[in-house]
């Protein structure tokens, strides 16, 4: 895909958090952008996965396929999130079983048809959107375990100037050689293990000869309502606690040392 844009909004994993998505899309419409993209994992973790699809359609959001979307779309036996720890996998399975069971056939068809990546241009910058990494949908690109030269070599081989991903659940960005950059856009699905209840998306802006500008935007939403709905759907209390407190209670073993130490658990 090739479109020209000067300002785009990038949404990370939505994880069925349609309440945060609603607020984020309203904010983005008010701010004004050329296009809105979602980097995959539409369902997971939260309640009522089908409530995400009409919002994406209403706001003309173009999505790529995350590991969750691929698994749900093809009704696989697990989410292929990439966890190696039994406790991480235990909760991932609970979340996945609920999401698969509650995603409509039409929703699954949509998920199956999503592209693996999207590429477009912003002025002189070629931008590539992927879910985990361009080589592996469930690769974790954490800030503290991704060397700068790994990204430099990857972007050079791909021939792109800006690479955007999600999957880890925590936003970060890094400027690279030759005005290039990497952005992990964060996620709308759950807070990022910092004790705040807000969630995040990113705005990417082009300003002529200058490097691309990366702005992370917080989204305050009705997290108490989301928690009530998670409870009524029988989703684990541990998930509800994360939404209420901003601290991760699951998926902890996939965190590297630095990111783990910033959390409570």
């Amino acid at each position: 895909m090739s479109i020209a844009a000067t300002r785009v909004a990038l949404l990370g994993g939505i994880y069925s958090n349609y309440l945060a998505l609603q607020v984020a899309l309203r904010q983005i419409r008010e701010a004004g952008v050329d296009a809105i993209y979602c980097l995959g994992d539409l369902g997971a973790f939260g309640p009522y996965p089908d409530r995400v699809f009409p919002l994406l359609q209403q706001y003309d959001v173009q999505s790529i396929q995350g590991n969750y979307d691929h698994s749900v779309g093809h009704a696989l036996d697990d989410c292929r999130c990439g966890y190696t720890d039994p406790r991480d996998n235990h909760y991932a399975q609970k979340s996945y079983d609920y999401t698969l069971e509650n995603t409509s056939s039409a929703g699954r068809t949509l998920l199956r048809g999503l592209p693996e990546e999207i590429q477009f241009e912003m002025g002189r910058h070629r931008v590539l959107l992927c879910h985990g990494s361009p080589t592996k949908v469930n690769e974790f690109l954490w800030e503290s375990t991704t060397s700068t030269h790994y990204l430099n070599v990857m972007l050079n081989e791909l021939g792109v100037d800006c690479l955007c991903a999600t999957h880890t659940g925590i936003k970060w960005s890094r400027h690279l050689n030759d005005d290039k950059c990497f952005v992990n856009v964060g996620v709308l699905g759950r807070p990022e293990n910092d004790g705040q209840t807000c969630v995040w998306y990113a705005i990417l802006s082009e300003h002529g000869e200058r490097p691309l500008e990366i702005q992370f935007v917080p989204v305050a939403y009705d997290f108490q309502r989301l928690t009530r709905e998670m409870a009524s759907e029988g989703l684990p209390e541990e998930f509800q606690e994360t939404i209420m407190t901003g601290w991760w209670t699951t998926c902890l073993e996939s965190l590297p040392a630095k990111e783990r130490k910033r959390g409570r658990f």
Binding site: D77, D78, R80, C81, G82, Y83, T84, D85, P86, D88, N89, G132, K136, N138, E139, F140, W142, E143, S144, T145, T146, S147, T148, H149, Y150, N152, V153, M154, L252, E253, S254, L255, P256, A257, K258, E259, R260, K261, F265
Partner: protein, 258 residues
């Protein structure tokens, strides 16, 4: 390897685009330059050191904590043991080594590290939940409020060949087994290990004559035939050497031949 030798390989790794660095041994902290080597590494990328935890010194940990604090990268400690109690570990690792390793874990926690205790599975699979829960309780009692574990499959190499049994000639990965298999789970698909002899295909096969692929990292980007018994264990379990944060999916039971 000396600090200067390691520095040369770190420099080479920039052009290759290495994502992260692991240090293993023997016991890495028997190298008198290990602390500066780790500090150097954190200038290049994330570092993990696999240690038995029995020789750590407070002044080393003080320096390493400061280096990690100043770096944008994580420094991970992996404490290797061969069982979650002295009765399982000490017959393999030596008398008293389990308690000393636990002292090392507690010391690392005191200095703000969250070590990943790495144990080879020396218990039956059906006992796993009980064994792991008991060990987590022990770690919490020792002051580790956020214990991290990685359980490795037992590799039938070295002393383990005589303790259990060596790989049979039929214990091999076959072409058919690779159909539809996610080969990124093999360590050799995305990693290399550097020793004073050169660059080898993987840490498990280090002593095998065919493991040496070249003198420099840039020479060692060639495919490797999965012809060893240990390749079967890697196939069955996936991601056996990397940290959980690397995120390589463990195979589901349907992909395991166990």
């Amino acid at each position: 390897m000396s600090r200067a030798q390691v520095r040369t390989h770190l420099d080479e790794s920039v052009d290759v685009g290495v994502k992260e660095y692991y240090f293993t041994g023997g016991e890495p902290f028997l190298n008198p330059e290990m602390v500066p080597i780790l500090i150097d590494s954190l200038e290049y990328g994330p570092a993990t050191v696999l240690t038995n935890g029995t020789v750590l010194k407070e002044r080393w940990l003080e320096q390493l904590a400061a280096a990690e604090e100043a770096s944008c990268y994580s420094l991970e400690f992996r404490i290797s043991i061969d069982g979650f109690c002295a009765e399982q570990n000490d017959p393999i690792r030596g008398e008293g080594t389990f308690d000393r390793a636990m002292e090392g874990v507690a010391l690392l926690n005191e200095f703000g590290f969250l070590p990943i205790v790495t144990a080879a599975r020396s218990w039956r699979l059906e006992e796993e939940e009980r064994v792991v829960d008991a060990f987590l309780d022990r770690l919490r009692a020792a002051g580790c409020q956020r214990p991290r574990l990685k359980i490795l499959p037992m590799l039938r190499l070295g002393a383990e060949e005589t303790r259990s049994s060596p790989y049979a000639a039929s214990d091999r990965v076959t072409r058919t087994m690779l159909e539809g298999y996610d080969t990124s789970q093999f360590i050799c698909e995305h990693s290399r290990i550097v020793s004073d002899r050169g660059v080898h295909v993987c840490p498990i096969l280090l002593e095998m004559p065919d493991s040496l692929l070249g003198a420099k990292l840039g020479d060692a980007d060639k495919s490797f035939a999965l012809k060893h018994g240990a390749c079967l264990t890697c196939y069955q379990h996936g991601a056996i050497c990397s940290n959980p944060s690397a995120g390589y999916r463990a195979p589901s039971s349907s992909e395991s031949t166990e």
